[in-house]
């Protein structure tokens, strides 16, 4: 492959050569027509030829310089004065695209303006009638558009080739399309071409007709003959046909290339966009096709990658699906067992709720019993207090009785002492009476009787003393028993008070217990409802899990189909890559 600079070397001159040729061609046509249509005064032809030759040379040089200045980047790239950068190539591309229009303007200006200038100079150098000068100027102005169009049309193919050279030199296709914006001017250009191709022959024919009419009116006018006119008419027709053929060829070439590109894309042969040079709408279409091909290639690569990923993912999915199926079946079995356990739990919860309700009722009964027990304990405490008061009264009475008994005992002891003394006195009296003998016998009897009485009294007092002792023992026992009773009553009262306090606490606890049991009953009721809902939910989950297992099995067929589709997709994408 040649160097980029060598590829672009001389391309600026290559672009402008046709405009030079077109200018000379136009001059030749104009001169030929003028030679046929205009009667040059004698002795003026040489001056006309010199003026025309000099002017044509000057104008050609000037126009060529002008065109070359408009292509200075391209020329710099060709001779190596401009470095090969993407921006330089893009700038050169824009210069090349504008080159045909520059050629059109240069040819139009040189021929139109040159004809007028040559006519004026020629009339100054030699004596030429004004009408001749004007008619010569008219012929140049009439020929100039057609020549400019021809130059424009023949420059387009060369511009396309130079653009292709820029692409070959390293300017990306996307960059050249991006650097040169599309111009949708095909319609006005065709109108322009058609107008020029139609008006120029009409003007020349009209000029010819007017000229022939004037010659017919002037008797001294020479006869032009039929042959030149026929040649002229044939020449005009050939020009129009050539112009139309050139327009069709120039405009049709890129369309044919676009058709080939679209056909290539249609067959799937796409990858790197290809440069299709063209103008106006064809340029826009080519740019769009290039972007489309680039996007399509990117999409295809992504599609291939996606297909590969899908194949890999579906493989993993297949493995995961198998695991998921096994897990789903295990989960289904576990859920079935869990559901059974949950139902058992629900039954237990219901039984707990019933028991809690029963316990709550029992707690209520316990509370009532505690209240009744508290009331009974309070009554018992009152009764114990009354018993204590009664015992205390009994104890006081017994103490008083004991005192009385002691008083009686002292009295009895006193009586016993008297009786004892009486006994001694009677004994002594009886003894004395016995000593007195017969005389004292009666006295002794009386004394003996007194003694018996005293002894009887003493026996009675002894008996009374025993009774008093018994009473004293009994009263002491009663006192002790009463005191013990008082102590027992006090202890009983204390115990009753403690029992009352205990029952009070029991009552408090029973209250708390009743409240707690009521709360527990409510909570167990709610728990029962929750458990029932849990059972229902577990049933739903079990159904869902079985459905998931069924769906997982159903995924088997879908997975196989997906594998087939992705395989086909991947083969298509890989085939595209391989084909390139």
């Amino acid at each position: 492959m040649s160097e980029p600079s060598s590829r672009l070397k001389g391309r600026s001159r290559y672009l402008t050569n046709h405009s030079t040729i077109a200018v000379f061609a136009g001059i030749v046509i104009a001169v030929a027509y003028a030679a046929v249509a205009i009667a040059f005064p004698p002795g003026t032809r040489l001056a006309f030829g010199v003026v025309l030759g000099v002017s044509a040379l000057v104008f050609q040089i000037t126009g060529d310089l002008f065109e070359q200045r408009r292509l200075r980047t391209l020329r710099g790239l060709g001779d190596g004065s401009v470095p090969f950068t993407r921006d330089a190539l893009a700038t050169a591309a824009r210069e090349v695209v504008r080159a045909p229009d520059v050629s059109f303007l240069v040819v139009l200006a040189l021929l139109g303006g040159g004809a007028v200038l040559v006519s004026v100079i020629w009339s100054v150098v030699v004596d030429v009638p004004r009408a001749t000068v004007l008619r010569l100027s008219f012929i140049g102005v009439a020929i100039a558009p057609l020549t400019a169009v021809m130059s424009n049309l023949v420059t387009w193919p060369r511009a396309r080739r130079v653009l292709a050279d820029l692409v070959d030199a390293g300017l990306p296709v996307e960059a050249i399309y991006a650097a040169v914006p599309a111009r949708f001017e095909l319609k006005p250009r065709l109108v322009l071409f058609a107008g020029v191709a139609t008006l120029t022959p009409l003007l020349l024919v009209s000029d010819m007709a007017v000229s022939r009419l004037g010659q017919a009116l002037q008797a001294d006018a020479g006869d032009m003959g039929a042959l030149p006119l026929a040649v002229l008419g044939l020449l005009v027709v050939l020009m129009v046909i050539a112009c139309a053929a050139l327009v069709g060829s120039v405009l049709g070439a890129p369309l044919a290339e676009l058709a080939k590109e679209t056909e290539r894309l249609a067959t799937g042969d796409y990858g790197t966009p290809r440069f299709v040079p063209g103008e106006f709408e064809a340029w826009a279409a080519a740019a769009s096709i290039a972007v489309l091909e680039s996007d399509l290639a990117t999409t295809t690569r992504r599609l291939a990658d996606a297909a590969s990923n899908i194949v890999q993912s579906t493989g993993e999915l297949s493995e995961g699906r198998v695991q998921h199926l096994a897990a789903a079946e295990e989960q289904s079995a576990a859920l079935a067992a869990t559901t059974s356990t949950t139902e058992e739990l629900a039954r237990s919860a219901r039984q707990i709720a019933v028991n809690a309700q029963r316990v709550s009722e029992l707690a209520g009964g316990t509370l009532e019993s505690a209240r009744a027990g508290k009331a009974s304990a309070d009554q018992f405490t009152g009764a114990m207090q009354a018993v204590r008061v009664g015992n205390q009264a009994i104890a006081d009475s017994v103490v008083r009785l004991n005192k009385r008994v002691q008083q009686v005992g002292r009295i009895v002891e006193f009586i016993n002492g008297i009786a004892d003394k009486s006994d001694l006195l009677a004994l002594n009296a009886e003894l004395e009476g016995n000593k007195a003998g017969e005389v004292g016998r009666g006295f002794s009897l009386v004394a003996a009787e007194m003694r018996r009485l005293a002894e009887s009294v003493m026996q009675s007092t002894a008996e009374i003393g025993r009774l008093i002792e018994e009473i004293r023992d009994a009263t002491n026992a009663a006192v002790m028993a009463t005191e013990a009773g008082v102590k027992a009553t006090d202890a009983g009262a204390v115990l009753a008070t403690r029992v009352g306090e205990g029952l009070g606490r029991i009552l408090d606890f029973a209250n708390l217990s009743a409240d707690a049991m009521q709360s527990i009953s409510l909570a167990t009721g709610q728990q029962q409802q929750g458990t029932d809902q849990l059972v229902a939910s577990m049933g739903d989950i079990l159904v869902s899990t079985r459905a998931a297992a069924d769906a997982s099995r159903a995924m088997e067929a879908t997975h196989a189909e997906l594998l087939a589709v992705t395989g086909a997709l991947e083969s298509v994408a890989r085939g595209r890559e391989d084909s390139r």
């Binding site: 004892d420 001694l424 004994l427 002594n428 003894l431 016995n434 000593k435 002794s444 003996a448």
Partner: protein, 122 residues
């Protein structure tokens, strides 16, 4: 002719008994002072009961548990020779009252005997 006595004081000393001639007794009193207890004739460790009686003689006294006076005439059964020296020679004989044989003793002699040392002295 057998001897008789009229008027004896029948004394009870614990489960034993003895009799004193009524003429030997000056009076009957409650026990007071250092008078010997007749119960020591039968039991060295005997104690004087609370309702004891003191038989007072003019020179002596004797404490007994209980006593009664028997005013009728009674046959005094003489003391066997072998018993004349017992209890310090205070035994005078025996009387039979209510089918029971009562030893009759001299109050002063018995009191002296008891003051002298009791049965060991005899």
């Amino acid at each position: 002719m057998a001897d008789t006595v009229e008027g004896v004081v029948l004394c009870r000393v614990g489960a034993d008994r003895l009799a004193v001639l009524a003429g030997d007794v000056v009076g009957v009193e409650l026990p007071q002072g250092p008078a010997p207890y007749a119960g020591r004739l039968f039991d060295d460790g005997a104690r004087t009961p609370d309702d004891a009686r003191l038989l007072r003689h003019e020179t002596a006294a004797l404490v007994v548990d209980a006593l009664e006076i028997h005013a009728e005439r009674l046959r005094l059964i003489p003391v066997p020779v072998v018993l004349t020296q017992v209890v310090g020679g205070a035994l005078r004989g025996f009387v039979q009252v209510a089918d029971a044989l009562w030893p009759v003793v001299s109050l002063p002699a018995l009191a002296a005997h008891l003051r002298a040392g009791g049965p060991e002295a005899a």
